[in-house]
């Protein structure tokens, strides 16, 4: 029979063949899909938090400040600063050194002269309205300068030569010119006035790397020390990330109470090599004379069987803290500490089984051994926050934090008590409401 015809015959018999799959396959698929969904949700929420933080940073750094407690920056003054070389050059032509004229006078002089120039004034008018308003504010705030500056009227014709293209170019820069940003930052150096507002709400968001150190204790049973040593030898340190947010209430100017949500996730490597592994390769053969299956041992392999699993843990906690902060100028330091209660604890991976000594999964629903509790219980934490005001109501914060679990993570009756000491470096923003 031709080969193609035989192929057709095999194809016809087997292409539509159907065999019921084992019952355990669907639950495994369902579990894996849920895991993927959770992971996607985590990624999206992390991305969203990053976008929000970036947005908050952009808003607080690049948008004009509306807080009346701080003198608003003068964009016109900044524009004048950009034009300073030209004014100085004009003054030098008259034989008067730039340094000999007070800064305020020069600004005032240039402001007036810019208004006297159609081109320059038009350019100033095209600036955002708030900047023009700032220029007016500058004029009102410096009444003593005006008469004196009028006194240097001989310089006016020279100041009229204030280069209009420079003003236009300042306006034409995308967003805000770097000069404006620099100037504004310099002028908003004053912080939020806590002496007048002795109570305030702060909203804080942070994210950062995390190091998890595992502590295994034998619960007073020396016989379990060998097992503990084997566990420690087969499990590496944990690395991960920490993100969260909290609301803090500041009272009496320096004291804080805070609560929020904190998520810590870390992974550690479990590696085990079984030196006395024996692999039996067995195939079943159908004895057609009796129509029965017989087991036929084909091969035996002796060797080392390696197991490598990434153990993952995630903890969602509600931390409650008290704190105290010192401030000097734009920066400050806060010490805080408190307790955290666990809301959700997920875990996936494998460790050595205390009974058999072989690797066993502890993943809920899949694992062969029960190691961890449903929730992680209580922990205490302490941290030191360094903050820097990038705006009167906005701080950048850097916060090294230590957290120690109080209640062990493992189930009651498990031969070891397992806890984690987590070190994290949180970086984020704090907004005074």
């Amino acid at each position: 029979m031709p080969e193609e015809e035989l192929n057709h015959q095999w194809r016809d018999r087997l292409k539509e063949a159907s065999v019921p799959p084992p019952a355990f396959v669907w639950p495994e698929i369902e579990h894996a899909l849920q895991r993927k969904k959770r992971r996607a949700l985590l990624w999206w929420s992390s991305g969203g938090a990053a976008v929000l933080l970036a947005g908050a940073f952009w808003y607080s750094t690049y948008l004009p400040e509306k807080n009346p407690t701080v003198p608003a920056p003068s964009s016109i003054a900044t524009v004048l600063e950009l034009a300073k070389p030209s004014v100085s050059a004009s003054l030098s032509q008259e034989g008067i050194g730039a340094a000999s004229v007070p800064q305020q006078e020069r600004q005032k002089l240039a402001l007036e002269s810019s208004r006297s120039s159609d081109a320059s004034f038009k350019a100033a008018e095209e600036l955002p309205p708030n900047k023009v308003a700032h220029a007016a504010l500058l004029e009102q705030e410096q009444p003593s300068v005006a008469p004196q500056s009028r006194g240097v009227s001989p310089l006016l014709p020279l100041a009229v030569s204030f280069p209009a293209p420079l003003l236009s170019s300042a306006k034409a820069l995308p967003g805000w010119p770097s000069g404006v940003i620099r100037k504004r930052k310099e002028q908003t150096g004053q912080c939020y006035d806590f002496s007048e507002n002795r109570r305030a709400w702060l909203l804080e968001g942070y994210a950062g790397p995390l190091f998890a150190r595992k502590v295994l204790e034998t619960a007073g049973d020396p016989e379990q020390e060998a097992y503990r040593d084997r566990r420690l030898a087969t499990e590496g340190p944990g690395w991960g990330f920490n993100l969260g947010g909290r609301a803090a209430y500041l009272f009496s100017e320096k004291y804080l109470l805070s609560a929020g949500l904190d998520y810590q996730q870390f992974a550690e490597v479990f590696e085990y090599a079984d030196p006395s592994s024996i692999e039996y390769i067995i195939k079943q053969v159908l004895d057609v004379s009796t129509n029965t299956w017989k087991i036929d041992t084909i091969d035996i392999n002796f060797g080392e069987e390696r197991t490598r699993v990434i153990n993952r843990f995630g903890l969602l906690d509600v931390p409650l803290s008290v704190g105290y902060e010192w401030r000097t100028g734009r920066m400050g330091l806060r010490l805080q500490g408190g307790a955290a209660a666990n809301l959700f604890f997920w875990k996936r991976g494998a460790v050595l089984d205390p009974q058999t000594g072989a690797p066993g999964y502890f993943t809920p629903g899949k694992g062969s051994q029960s190691v961890f509790r449903l929730r992680a219980g209580l922990s205490w934490q302490a941290g030191m926050q360094w903050f820097w005001h990038i705006a009167p109501k906005t701080r950048v914060v850097v916060e090294p934090t230590f957290r120690q679990q109080i209640t062990p993570l493992n189930q009651v009756g498990y031969p070891l008590e397992q806890r984690y000491q987590n070190w994290s470096l949180r970086i984020g923003f704090s907004k005074i409401m």
């Binding site: 029979m1 015959q9 018999r13 087997l14 159907s18 065999v19 369902e30 993927k36």
Partner: protein, 181 residues
Amino acid sequence: MNEETLIQGCLRGSVQHQRALYERYAGKMYAVCLRYARTPADAADILQEGFIKVYTKLNQYHFQGSFEGWIRRIMVNTALRTYQRHRYELEQTGLERLPESPQEADAIALLSEGELLGMIGRLPDGYRLVFNLVAIEGYSHAEAAEVLGIQESTSRSQLTKARRWLSEELNRATNVGLIDK
């Protein structure tokens, strides 16, 4: 529930629709996996991995061509990747000496699907993969060689050996009267 409703439901992430889709195609796909896998346990792993890919890549199915064919291709590719990952050595068992059997066609017609699948499952890995791709899926030797990363001549040789091995198995079944009906 028609196929489109099923797919739309799965795209929305509905577990009920995912389950219904699984129940509709799992039997056929498990048979495909059994043909490629070394053991039933490996076949179950391939089936699981394949269905997870089906759900996650469902947005790439544009309702063109057979949906069952699309799922089948995912299963075959998953099985082949498992094969490549495990790097099974192509087993050489001196099958060149096995005689050809003229009764092969009759035996194929008489044996049950389960018995035929069992026979294919006992084929050495290299033979089994080439036999599945070329004889059952309809790949050309050039395509099978490309997918498996082997020479086209090797693919031809493996198929010939697979056929002889199966022929011997079928012959044995015929001679002892199992299918002598």
